[in-house]
Subunit: 489 residues, 2 copies
């Protein structure tokens, strides 16, 4: 670690990255490689002798870049965005430079205190109730996790802690309680909740996945939920966790939070709101109403790395009462920890808020300061405007149809099948998607809504302009016409 050598090589790396962003639009969005491509390019053993930085950087250009699907290409319209920014990257660089472990306040106080402060900033931009913020009187606050999956897992663990504690007070045994706990959610919820239930050892049948309907715009149905919860109680189970989503992965559907909060309250369930993607939009006053009801949730997660110009990974969980986690995770043993007992009770130790012990010093504040609230809101609004524009383009072409409401940056649509398409357009649209993606100029993904193969146009790239959206639509139209022409032949 020679600072002068670092300086020289890091400047080269910066230039490589800047060139990459300058040129990324010219690269095929979806990587064109086939499985195993790298095995034949790189040796199967580590080099014995040190190699030069220039050699490795050359290999990055010739071997790695072709294997990358370029999420930062302005024509990337897949999944949900993972958009970066100059500010996000500079923050990452700084984190890498300090390379400290912020597992406890005492291991590097700035890491914990900055995270607390900045998650309060974001919580206020979202107009979250005070109970979700760090303040002197309260029990609440936010924490950055490595993924929304971990955030949801930790929310489930906090809920389990509360359920065990409350039901033990009623005289039940812990094992009996665990076997009776029921989780309710919709079939549109991200599978990470399913994964979390598996991890915590919940019996498979204790996760109740409720069907949604196109006529409800794929929102969780209140009558179906109420009936299922009553049914669970009747059978002697304990409904303990209700997982709602604002902006589902498939179609950005929105569960009816206020009514769900009432049901959760009536049955004593923990109410969690997953707004990993769409929650970001709620920093704009005109979209904040989508979060109405979150004030009655126990926990709430949002991934800033999805739409807030922040690098992977930055998934935030806000909790109103973190003591349920402390009960769970504050495990005695740490005979080797810092002698901070006198301050230990007065500080937040994020290791007790997450699965991991160690944690990186994330720099979300770079993004919030370099953009300001205004800049972040403009960023969101631009994408949503692009999506509304795209939705109009689709509606204007009678060969296509829209399949779900467009509220954020996502448009769900398809090429309409005719009577001769016996699979209701599945093959037609999956072929269209493959034709679009294999061209390499744009990249989209798909979902299935009510059994219907659905194309997803997900707009959120930092460099994506209206022209990119217009050009993408032309490509989609051309490929669609090609397919329809082939069918006629």
């Amino acid at each position: 670690m020679d600072p002068q050598e670092f300086r020289a090589q890091a400047h080269k790396m910066v230039d490589f990255i800047a060139d990459y962003y300058r040129d990324v639009e010219s690269l095929p969005v979806r990587s064109q490689v086939t499985p195993g491509y790298l095995r034949s390019s790189l040796p199967s053993n580590a080099p014995e002798e040190p190699q030069s930085f220039d050699t490795v950087l050359d290999d990055v250009k010739s071997m790695i870049v072709p294997g990358v699907t370029h999420w930062q290409n302005p024509n990337f319209f897949g999944f949900f965005p993972s958009n970066s920014s100059t500010a996000g990257m500079l923050g990452e660089f700084l984190s890498g430079g300090f390379n400290v472990d912020g597992s406890e306040w005492a291991t590097s106080p700035a890491a914990t205190e900055l995270e607390m402060l900045v998650l309060n900033w974001l919580g206020k931009l979202l107009n979250l109730p005070d109970e979700f913020l760090f303040n002197r009187s309260g029990n609440g606050g936010g924490v950055i996790h490595a993924s929304a999956s971990e955030a949801v897992l930790v929310a489930l663990l906090a809920a389990r802690g509360r359920a065990i504690s409350e039901n033990k007070a009623k005289g039940l045994e812990e094992q009996e309680i665990l076997s009776k706990l029921l989780v309710y959610t919709s079939d549109q919820t991200h599978p990470c909740l399913h994964k979390a239930c598996v991890i915590v050892g919940l019996p498979k049948s204790n996760l109740v996945i409720l069907p949604t309907l196109a006529t409800d715009d794929y929102a969780l149905s209140l009558p179906i939920l109420k009936s299922a919860v009553r049914n669970g109680v009747t059978k002697g189970f304990i409904p303990f966790f209700l997982g709602a989503t604002v902006g589902t992965t498939s179609s950005s559907a929105i569960d009816p939070l206020p009514a769900l909060a009432d049901i959760a309250k009536e049955y004593g369930m923990w109410f969690h709101v997953d707004a990993a993607y769409a929650g970001n939009a709620c920093i704009c006053p005109e979209f904040r109403h989508f979060l109405n009801g979150v004030e009655n949730a126990h926990s709430f997660n949002l991934s800033a790395n999805k739409w807030l110009l922040t690098n992977i990974d930055c998934s935030i969980l806000w909790l109103k009462r973190y003591e349920f986690l402390n009960l769970l995770f504050f495990i005695y043993t740490i005979s080797f920890q810092l002698k901070t007992s006198s301050i230990q009770s007065r500080v937040v130790n994020f290791k007790d808020w997450q699965v991991a012990q160690g944690r990186r010093f994330r720099q979300l504040w770079f993004v919030m300061r370099l953009y300001g609230a205004l800049g972040l809101r403009n960023h969101i609004r631009t994408h949503i405007n692009h999506a509304k524009h795209f939705e109009i383009l689709v509606r204007e072409d009678s060969r296509f149809e829209i399949l779900a409401p467009c509220r954020f940056g996502l448009v769900c649509f398809r090429l309409k099948p005719s009577v001769k398409h016996e699979d209701n357009g599945w093959k037609l649209n999956s072929s269209l998607l493959e034709a679009i993606n294999s061209g390499g100029k744009i990249f989209m993904t798909h979902t299935v809504l009510s059994g219907v193969y659905t194309l997803r146009m997900s707009i959120g790239g930092t460099q994506t302009k209206r022209e990119n959206v217009d050009d993408a639509w032309k490509i989609i139209q051309e490929e669609a016409q090609n397919l329809l022409d082939q069918e006629i032949i």
Copy 2:
């Protein structure tokens, strides 16, 4: 995201980081701030207007740097090291630049393929058996997790999957199996195993923590383990997981892997080896014997970010049979995933190997190529030589004593108490540690071994030279003499 603006600001950031490394030795190692220090320096709301990069960088210098405990200061001797390097940071920069999600092969093939290849490189340097490597015939391979805690949790989940599958075949019900599963480990094992047991919902009493003795150098005792396992079986429980450590956190103790593997085999237990810290040393042939027995383990973890010049986070888990995880995590729902079904069965999708869905594209290969195996081995050997040298210094001073064998970079010692120290030197040594750390020139941490307050000198900083170790020893001696002099007065 303007490439030119990025270039200008990133070059400034690189210079800041290079200057930081040039000057870090002059900064107090342990942050001198008190809880809440940052709240009064920064506003309690996010700025509305964008702020300039220079303003934020100035705040980094004036507000953040004083709150950082400088893990990269060459006089940092706390915990275990978290050592970075030019190569490690350049890799981080590149990851930040691409900012792709490598959750599946198809989401960015290079991310998965490079990780597979490089974990094979490291596995071969460690002389792991082929079953732990990715190869065409096998079921094994490595995966990078965000922390050793997650690696251990995932190993426990794989073991649980196997135990459920095997015991169901014997006619037991899943809930009955789960309530009977027993985990065995020593009281020196990192608390992350305890945390993992809590997460997966294992009843508290099903984690059997076995006492260790100074006379065994704090290794797991075979007679104690055998007796405890027999006892569990007699009572109708199912021993299913044996967790061993190579290089414990407290004293770098080494559990007797070969004999433990035999016991695990006899009782059908999953055998996991946690070598988060010391495993790194085993890339040197002369230290590889400490891992003997790992060939009979089911899983093995090592944190390259602890001692292999790689930034946080890079905790690697190797498994011989990853299908136990696939059974667990491969959850149907992904109606929205890439149409890769034809290749899905032929590729590795790391989302099924971890808690999270998304994952960063980590660049461990930068470190392995820029150092080469030779460079990495030299790095390890230098630290171990420094530790041996420090151990000699302590032994030469009759006021001090060594409390555990020094095998890696860690020296456990204390100032010998006299008869007048009724607490067996607890206060004497805790006062000594506080005096050392509050001076700010060096930083150490402590542990408790057999009830004895123990100072830990943990040597592993990338920039740490023999002079740093000599100077640290002088400071320790001086502070000790100050304390002893005060006692006489």
